[in-house]
């Protein structure tokens, strides 16, 4: 049996729409988001703060608090399973922490201050790691596996690190530990939510390198959420640009940087500082509040090339190229 290109994707988010019901009105946080991550691929998800990147990542894990959140429509498929149809209990015991893991942005908060790093890593294997991938189940193998992984993330003296409490480690060390923890149960998909934002550039570069190596080693897929175009260029295979809860454009990294189509992507790439540019260009205006937003393109107010129909008609998908999707009327 031949699988279509679409089915070979590990994660498929189809037309996901999500609202938050607040006292000031309904916030349409996600509106028709389409994403697909192939096996072994790193997909970047870029956009400004508040555009819905993190919310997208959280909805894959089923961690949107309802209320106030409400998923209006859409499907989230992990391999052959529609995650939207799973109960919270099923998601908890079979998906979170085993098939999908998360690398959080903050480095201190996500580690419990009263348990040692070793305890917290050990717990993952104890509760999440065993059932999959035919691992050896002999005593001491857990410990060995943790040590190997700590070496893989370039932490010297892993035995000493394991005996320490999170507060005794530096931000870079903790980020390595959090990355190691995400890879520990050998997940199929890792959602990395701006894992390098809290770090300085030199550490950031090391961490990205480590991340790439581990992805290559395990062959897992990654949804890499970031707002840093430099990070995208370093680590991602393909990239989806998000604006105000909608996907604007999806393309392979090189193609997106060389020939961006969507006016927002063009402007976004213009805003990246570089030595050749005397002035950093900005996108005039601000991201609209997502309460009672207009029905058409959400970039309408700030778009330099807007058309009349952009205001009331939501742009559909246009294939600018075989692997280059744009949601914009200019190409429709």
């Amino acid at each position: 049996m031949h699988r279509t290109a679409e089915e070979s994707h590990l994660l498929r988010i189809k037309d996901l729409a999500l609202e938050f019901h607040t006292e000031r009105g309904v916030v349409q946080a996600l509106d028709g988001v389409n994403l697909a991550v192939a096996k072994g691929e790193v997909l970047g998800l870029v956009g400004e703060s508040g555009c819905g990147k993190t919310v997208t990542g959280r909805s894959v894990l089923g961690l949107i608090p309802c209320p106030p959140g409400r998923i209006v429509r859409g499907e989230i498929w992990l391999d052959q399973e529609n995650l939207m149809t799973l109960s919270q209990e099923n998601l908890r015991s079979r998906v979170r922490g085993s098939r999908i893991t998360l690398v959080p942005q903050d480095t201190l908060g996500p580690l419990n201050p009263v348990h040692t790093v070793g305890t917290q890593m050990g717990d993952i294997l104890k509760y999440k790691g065993r059932s999959r991938n035919g691992r050896p189940n002999r005593p001491g193998s857990d410990h060995q596996e943790i040590l190997d992984l700590l070496r893989a993330v370039h932490l010297p003296d892993p035995d000493k690190i394991l005996a320490k409490y999170p507060a005794e480690l530096s931000g870079g060390q903790r980020q390595r530990i959090l990355i190691a923890m995400a890879f520990l149960p050998r997940p199929e998909l890792i959602i990395a939510d701006e894992p390098t934002t809290a770090l300085d550039v030199t550490v950031q570069a090391q961490i990205l390198k480590i991340f790439r190596d581990l992805v290559a080693r395990d062959g897992c897929s990654v949804l890499f959420i970031t707002h840093d175009m430099g990070v995208v260029a370093t680590i991602c295979d393909r990239v989806s640009v998000m604006y105000a809860g909608q996907i604007a454009e999806t393309a392979p990294v090189r193609k997106l940087f060389e020939s961006p189509r969507h006016p927002y992507t063009v402007k976004l790439l213009d805003s990246v500082p570089s030595p050749e540019k005397k002035e950093i260009s900005q996108i005039p205006g601000t991201v609209p509040t997502l309460i009672n937003i207009n029905k058409g393109c959400r970039f309408y107010d700030r778009c330099p090339q807007r058309l009349d129909r952009c205001r009331d008609h939501k742009p559909g998908l246009t294939q600018a190229d075989e692997d280059h999707a744009v949601f914009c009327h200019l190409f429709g």
């Binding site: 894990l61 961690l63 998601l91 908890r92 015991s93 998906v95 979170r96 922490g97 085993s98 893991t101 998360l102 959080p104 903050d106 201190l108 908060g109 996500p110 580690l111 419990n112 201050p113 009263v114 348990h115 040692t116 717990d123 993952i124 509760y127 999440k128 409490y165 999170p166 507060a167 005794e168």
Partner: protein
């Protein structure tokens, strides 16, 4: 400088077992002489209670015994604390009274923790109906002053040790529920709790492995102080006559019996009273210093 570094390391960070064995913490704990006194009092009263059968010169006097010829004698070499209206040795009865009192106080506190803490964790972690039901029930109990609730329950149940324990526990558990609920509410929004949720950790595991450990210092402090106040309350019930019944050697009951012989036989009321005073003070001083020792804001202050 050294102090600052170690203060940083131990912010809320270090595991409890390690914490309790931490030398700096012990130093903080024994920072002032009153603390030392509190701990010594707690240890001494505990030892005297446990060793009462060995230490009492007249163990047979603890419960029912009559020696008419020796009644109401003042303190002497034979009867250090004098004798009571039945001729019983008050020293022996004070020692045995410690067993009764400490047993009641420890049982009440442990029972209240066992009921109050899990309810507080659950109420704090979940919102909605579960939270409302638990907290409103706790509020009802908290709305009635502890002594009045304990008094009416003890009076209704009848005077014996198990009933006193029930009466005092019923009026005590909501206090633990309250404080644990409040701490859990703030802890459940910590990033490490959200992180464990994203890892698919089970709610039971989150509550006990990740939240409970953070509430332990508060529970220990409140429990220690609570033992002190419970001793006082148990003695009050005994004094009023709804606590344990004679001939049980309970301190409050002994003071109640002594009333009709006052002020002449001063030793009859003085020694049980001193026993209550010293034991309660011991637990309260110790509770206070435990609070100081476990309060992260006071860490790193050399004293």
């Amino acid at each position: 400088m050294n102090g600052r570094v170690s203060a940083l390391q131990s912010l809320p960070g270090v595991g409890l077992a390690k914490k309790l064995l931490n030398r700096r913490m012990l130093r903080l704990f024994f920072r002032d002489k009153l603390t030392g006194l509190g701990t010594v009092l707690v240890l001494v009263t505990f030892f005297l209670a446990v060793a009462a059968p060995v230490l009492s010169p007249f163990p047979e006097d603890a419960y029912e015994n009559v020696r008419v010829a020796e009644r109401l004698q003042s303190p002497s070499a034979k009867h250090w604390f004098g004798t009571d209206r039945m001729g019983r040795d008050i020293f022996s009865r004070v020692l045995y009274g410690g067993r009764v009192t400490l047993f009641i106080a420890l049982a009440v506190t442990l029972l209240s923790i066992a009921i109050g803490v899990p309810l507080g964790l659950v109420a704090g972690y979940y919102s909605g109906a579960i939270h409302e039901v638990i907290m409103r029930v706790a509020d009802v109990f908290l709305a009635i002053p502890r002594i009045i609730l304990a008094l009416s329950l003890a009076a209704a149940l009848g005077p014996n040790v198990p009933n006193v324990i029930v009466a005092l526990s019923v009026s005590f558990w909501p206090r633990f529920t309250r404080i644990v609920e409040a701490e859990t509410q703030s802890l459940r929004h910590e990033l490490y709790i959200e992180a464990s949720q994203s890892l698919g950790v089970s709610p039971v595991s989150i509550l006990f492995r990740h939240i409970f450990v953070h509430t332990l210092p508060t529970i220990i402090v409140r429990g220690t102080l609570g033992i002190g106040f419970t001793i006082l309350l148990a003695a009050t019930l005994g004094f009023i006559g709804v606590g344990v019944s004679p001939p049980t050697p309970e301190w409050g009951l002994m003071i109640a019996e002594s009333r009709e012989y006052l002020p002449g036989t001063w030793w009859y009321a003085l020694f049980p009273g001193l026993a209550i005073f010293l034991t309660v003070m011991g637990y309260i001083l110790m509770g206070d210093s435990l609070r100081d020792a476990m309060d992260p804001r006071l860490r790193g202050i050399e004293g």
